[in-house]
Assembly symmetry: C2
Homo-oligomer: 246 residues x 2
Amino acid sequence: MSTQRGHLKVVSEVCGDAIACHNCGIYRLGTPLDSTEADPRLLERIAKNRRQVKRGDLLYRVGEPLNAIYAIRYGSIKTYLSTVDGRSQITGFHIAGDPLGLADLHSGHSSTEARALENTSLCEIPIDHLHQLTKDLPALQVQLTHLLSQEVQRLQGLSLLLGKKTAEERLATFLITLSRRFARCGYSSREFNLSMSRNDIGTYLGIVEETVCRILTRFQDDGLIDNQRRLIHILDSDRLAHLAQL
Amino acid sequence: MSTQRGHLKVVSEVCGDAIACHNCGIYRLGTPLDSTEADPRLLERIAKNRRQVKRGDLLYRVGEPLNAIYAIRYGSIKTYLSTVDGRSQITGFHIAGDPLGLADLHSGHSSTEARALENTSLCEIPIDHLHQLTKDLPALQVQLTHLLSQEVQRLQGLSLLLGKKTAEERLATFLITLSRRFARCGYSSREFNLSMSRNDIGTYLGIVEETVCRILTRFQDDGLIDNQRRLIHILDSDRLAHLAQL
DNA sequence: CGAGTGGTTGACCACAATCAAGACCCGTGG
DNA sequence: CCACGGGTCTTGATTGTGGTCAACCACTCG
C-alpha cells in the first residue's frame, strides 16, 4: 500500500484522475506484486481505451463472447446471474478500482451479466491486447492470479453469508464491508451514498426488498445507523461489526 | 479432453494410478493450455511429494500458514469456513483431480479449513517449489489463472443456489452436479456412493440435515432416485435437472 | 451383542416471504 | 409554480418454507 503511493504521480498522469486511478484495476493490473516500480509505458498501453456506460445500461450479458476485461475508473457496476425461470442473484457490486470479467478470460464468454448502477467510466482492455501484455511482462499474469484469488475469497465469504447468516447479520455484514471498501478508496467510511436500490441489496444478500427496509429501520431505531434513503451514516460500527459476525 | 488422453501413459507412469492421475490436478497443473505435450520431467517434479490423510483428518486449518498447494489423487476433501460463533459453511467438496489451496497462494495463509471425508491421497506442491516451476515454465502460471477462473464460476453458481433456490432445487442441483463430475472422472453418472454425510450436504447447501433427509425421501417416493443411505441411483436425471433449474 | 454414529420421521415453531397499501421523492410538463 | 406520474421506499397483515426439538431406527464396529 505505502509503496503504491509513490507511483501516484505517474499514474495520475496516465489516467488523468488521481483518485480513480490510485485505486483502479488498471493500476492494480499494471503493478505486479514483485515490481516496486510501475512501468509508465505499460500503464499508458493499458489505460488507453475508455468506455462509458450510463445508469441502467448493460456492459455485457451472460453467454456473450467477452473479448475484453475492464477496470472501473469511477461509478459502479452490478454483476448477476439468473435461474432459468428468472430469479437472479447479484454476485457482486463493483466500484472504482475493481476489475471486471477476469474469471471469463479462459472461457472467452461471459458467465454473468453486468449492469451500471450509475454513470460509470471504465478502462477496456481487449483480450488479445492483454495476451500481448502478459507476454511482454510475465509478472502481469501473476497479478491476474492474485486478483482472481481475492475474488475466490470474496465469494467464499458471500457463500457463508448466504448459507448461514440471518437477515440481520447479512445487512450488518453488507454495511461494514461497504464501509471498509470505501475507506480503502479514500472515501469516508462513516457516511456514504448507496448507488444500489433496496431491491438490489436484497438480491445480493438473498433476502427481499421489504426485509432490507425493515432491518435498516430497526438498525436506525437501535442507533446503529442513520438511514436517509440512499444516504447512510454509520453511527456505531463496533456494534454493527459484532452483529455481522465479523 | 481428447488431446489429454494421449498423455495418459506418461502420466500414469509418474503417478502410478491411471484413473486418479488422468483427472488429477497434478495433471491439469502440468498441462498448460497452450502446450500439446505434457512434459514428463515437469510432471515428475510436481508429482514427487505425496501426502496421505485419513478420514476425518484435518489437512489444514483456517488462518494457518499454507506453504503448499495440493491436488487430490484419490479420496475426497471438504473445505469450509465458519462464523465467529461456530456456524460453518462448506464451500466445496473436492474429489480426484481437484486442486486445493490455489486461492490462498497470494496471501500465504489458508482462508478455509480442509478435512478429509475418507482416506485420501494428495500430491503436495510446496509453494517455493511452485514458484520455481512457474519460472521455468511461464505457461503454468496461465494454467493457475485458468483453474482459479473455474473456481470463481463455481462459487458464483453456489451463490445463486444459496441465495435464490428452494431446498428441493438445491438438492436436485447437488445430485445432478455430482453426477456430472463423476461422469467426467470416468465413474458412473447414474450410481455412486456419497462420501459426505447428510449433515455435510446440508452444510454445503445452506439447509439442515433433516431437510436433506425429507427431500431425498420425497425424491425417492417420486421415482427420481433410489436412495439407500450413501448409495444413490439417479433414476430420472431429466426430471431432476429440470427441478434443479439447470 | 451393546454402544455409538448417522439417518429418518414427526410435531411444532419462527423467520422471512408474500401480498397489499400507502408514503416519499424527483423529474416532467402544463 | 404546482400537479401529476412513476419509481423507490416503507410499513402492516398474513402465510409458508424450512428450522428446531425430540424420538426412534439402522447400520457398523469393537
